[in-house]
């Protein structure tokens, strides 16, 4: 009744190609952004900001990166956390070794370093496919993180191996409170999400999906496999690198290799699977779900007076069960459920 496209005619291809073609969606997005920018920092508690919203945004960005590689380009990767680590260490080192380096540029350069590593470790994808490729991305995960622990120059010769991330100061304005960090992360993630959405709807995005769906046919119509796959690795790793830098600077406060373990790679993969493979919105939905779930389980465990070990084991079980459930019931994840919901909403109050 309220969610109607009736009367909204598109009279140009440009209008037809908008990201949000339905007026109600645009209004909803504007409201959401207003809430996110104005209301949330004012009303949310520091805990809510630091422990839920900031990691949610950061993981959404990483999930977006992985979605580009696995969801759009079809290259399954278990090495996401390694690229995040490169981004974090890269940003740290650029700030530490280049005097006067603006921190945003350091994040970008961290992302670029991750992209370069991504291209290097993406080269095998030209020969290897499917879960052989997934198994070889494990090499990336373990080797890269090991390198970061063993090269003292990268940790600025720190004795303990734990480095404190530098403070975020842009043009003299310090981003040290949860509210400010949240706004910064929100801005970065929003911009990068927009860029990603443009990319996946353009020629590059179509080439990725073509390679994912049938790479022999893609080759025949003139798509260069090497360039397309390596670009996917590069862009994906860039996103993961920036996410990793934000993870260290705006969330953890330290730059440590242990934070970028295989476990993190799996968590991000789960976000992509549950949220929706091949969907920008899905990356956000999946991240939200996975960030919120342990919190909910903890609250439940507290409420039922269960020991914390039970809660953490339950978390593993629930994750696992949810993955299986989504793969059986809705392989396209929450994003598809959202789409179905919108379609039902179009018809409401009629059943069909």
């Amino acid at each position: 009744m309220f969610y109607r496209e009736a009367g909204q005619f598109k009279t140009s291809y440009e209008a037809d190609g908008q990201i949000f073609p339905i007026r109600q969606d645009r209004i909803a997005l504007a409201v959401l952004l207003a809430l996110a920018l104005a209301l949330v920092p004012a009303l949310a508690s520091p805990y809510m900001l630091s422990a839920i919203l900031i990691p949610f945004l950061i993981f959404s960005l990483a999930a977006l990166g992985l979605n580009i590689l696995t969801g759009y380009a079809g290259q399954l990767s278990l090495g996401t956390a390694a690229f995040m680590a490169v981004g974090a260490f890269g940003a740290f080192n650029f700030v530490a070794h280049v005097p006067g380096m603006p921190i945003l540029l350091a994040f970008v350069l961290g992302g670029v370093s991750a992209a370069l590593v991504g291209i290097a470790f993406g080269l095998p994808s030209l020969r290897i496919r499917g879960f052989y490729l997934a198994a070889s991305t494990l090499a990336t995960q373990f080797f890269v993180v090991w390198c970061l622990t063993k090269i003292p120059y990268l940790t600025n010769y720190s004795a303990s191996g734990v480095i404190t991330a530098q403070k975020i100061v842009i043009l003299g304005y310090a981003f040290d409170t949860p509210e400010r960090k949240y706004l910064l992360v929100l801005a970065v993630v929003a911009v990068m999400a927009l860029l990603a959405k443009n990319l996946v709807r353009s020629n590059v995005g179509r080439s990725w999906m073509a390679v994912r769906d049938m790479d022999m046919a893609a080759e025949v119509i003139g798509i260069r496999l090497m360039r397309t796959k390596l670009l996917a690795f590069a862009v994906s790793s860039f996103y993961c690198g920036v996410a990793g830098a934000l993870y260290a600077f705006a969330y953890l406060g330290t730059v440590e290799p242990e934070a970028y373990s295989l476990d993190l790679s799996f968590r991000i993969l789960f976000m992509v699977i549950i949220g929706g493979v091949g969907s920008v919105l899905g990356s956000f939905l999946g991240a939200f779900f996975i960030v919120l779930l342990p919190v909910i389980l903890n609250v439940l465990a507290h409420g039922l007076a269960l020991p914390t070990s039970v809660a953490s084991n339950l978390e593993l079980m629930v994750f696992g069960a949810l993955i299986i459930f989504f793969l059986i019931a809705e392989p396209h994840g929450l994003a598809r459920l959202w789409q179905i919901g919108k379609e039902k909403l179009r018809l409401w109050p009629f059943p069909h």
């Binding site: 095998p124 070889s136 789960f270 079980m317 299986i324 793969l327």
Partner: protein, 300 residues
């Protein structure tokens, strides 16, 4: 360089490779017979070992009682997996099934620790972890009796399984199912029953593996990460060959230990964590289907 020391490291590596091979055999078994790459194999090994030890600890019975009970539990687990996870996903692309087994791995790990607790359990087996006197005396090489026994058990298992696949009716049915589910159904192979047999056997292999690993290192969560090492083993040996799994395991075990001992000190150690994976990666670049695997031909 002490040649004796080299042999010790080599043999030690080969024997730890035997352990990897055992996990890999479980993978190959399931892949060969259902086309499913069971990422949860490591979790199943963990679950089997933990259940066995848990039964011994909680109910105070001997291993001779616990083992058969655990086998029953593993069969039930296998049947549940087949019913709840595999059957709904029949005919989905391989990658979907693979991701489902990742979810399954997490689920089983959580379940195992929920039931039996997360602390490390000790597992006592009748074989002792002492050096074999004979080799010690004649060649001055330190080789544990336990490791040799494990190698023997592994060889036995591989032979038995190879015979199962090649010579028996059940084995033939398993191979048919692996190739094409629908075709197998069409010729009347009772898919569900075959898979039940399959997962029962896989459970048994997991139990043997779990017990040997557990006796070595104690039954603990880290076991599941060790199982990840089976992936490079499979890449080297091919996903469908049991002899390949053994050869791959030996290669990985030996090379990993040798690299750690001889290259490790120059680069700060910790090579074991990634060496097998990088080796497998380099190998895949040369031979994308592994040493013994089947060549994949794609038609357009």
């Amino acid at each position: 360089m002490n040649i004796n020391f080299f042999f010790e490291v080599l043999i030690g590596g080969l024997l730890s490779g035997v352990m990897y091979a055992l996990v890999a055999i479980g993978f190959v078994l399931i892949y060969k017979a259902s086309g499913v790459f069971n990422f949860a194999q490591g979790a199943m090994v963990f679950f089997a070992a933990l259940t066995c030890v848990g039964i011994v600890d909680k109910f105070g019975v001997s291993l001779w009682v616990a083992v058969p009970l655990t086998i029953v539990v593993m069969i039930v687990l296998g049947l549940l997996i087949e019913r709840l996870v595999l059957r709904p996903l029949v005919n989905q692309p391989e990658i979907t099934l693979f991701m489902a087994t990742i979810g399954l791995a997490f689920f089983i790990e959580g379940l195992a620790q929920l039931i039996w607790g997360s602390q490390v359990h000790r597992l006592e087996l009748p074989i002792e972890d002492v050096p074999l006197q004979l080799l010690m005396d004649r060649f001055n090489i330190l080789v544990s009796q336990f490791d040799l026994a494990a190698a023997a058990i592994c060889a036995l298992l591989v032979t038995a399984l190879a015979l199962l696949f090649a010579k028996t009716k059940v084995g033939r049915a398993l191979r048919a199912v692996a190739d094409d589910h629908q075709a197998a159904l069409a010729v009347g192979i009772p898919l569900q029953r075959i898979w039940a047999v399959l997962w029962a056997v896989a459970g048994l292999v997991a139990l043997v593996t779990g017990m040997l690993w557990g006796a070595r290192n104690g039954v603990q969560f880290a076991l599941t990460f060790v199982a990840l090492k089976a992936l490079p083993v499979l890449i080297l040996g091919g996903f469908t060959s049991m002899p390949g799994a053994v050869v791959g395991g030996l290669l990985i075990g030996a090379s990993e230990k040798l690299a750690e001992v001889y290259i490790g000190p120059y680069v700060g150690g910790g090579i074991e964590g990634w060496f097998p994976y990088v080796l497998a990666l380099l190998f895949l670049l040369v031979r994308p289907e592994g040493l013994f695997g089947e060549k994949i031909i794609r038609r357009i």
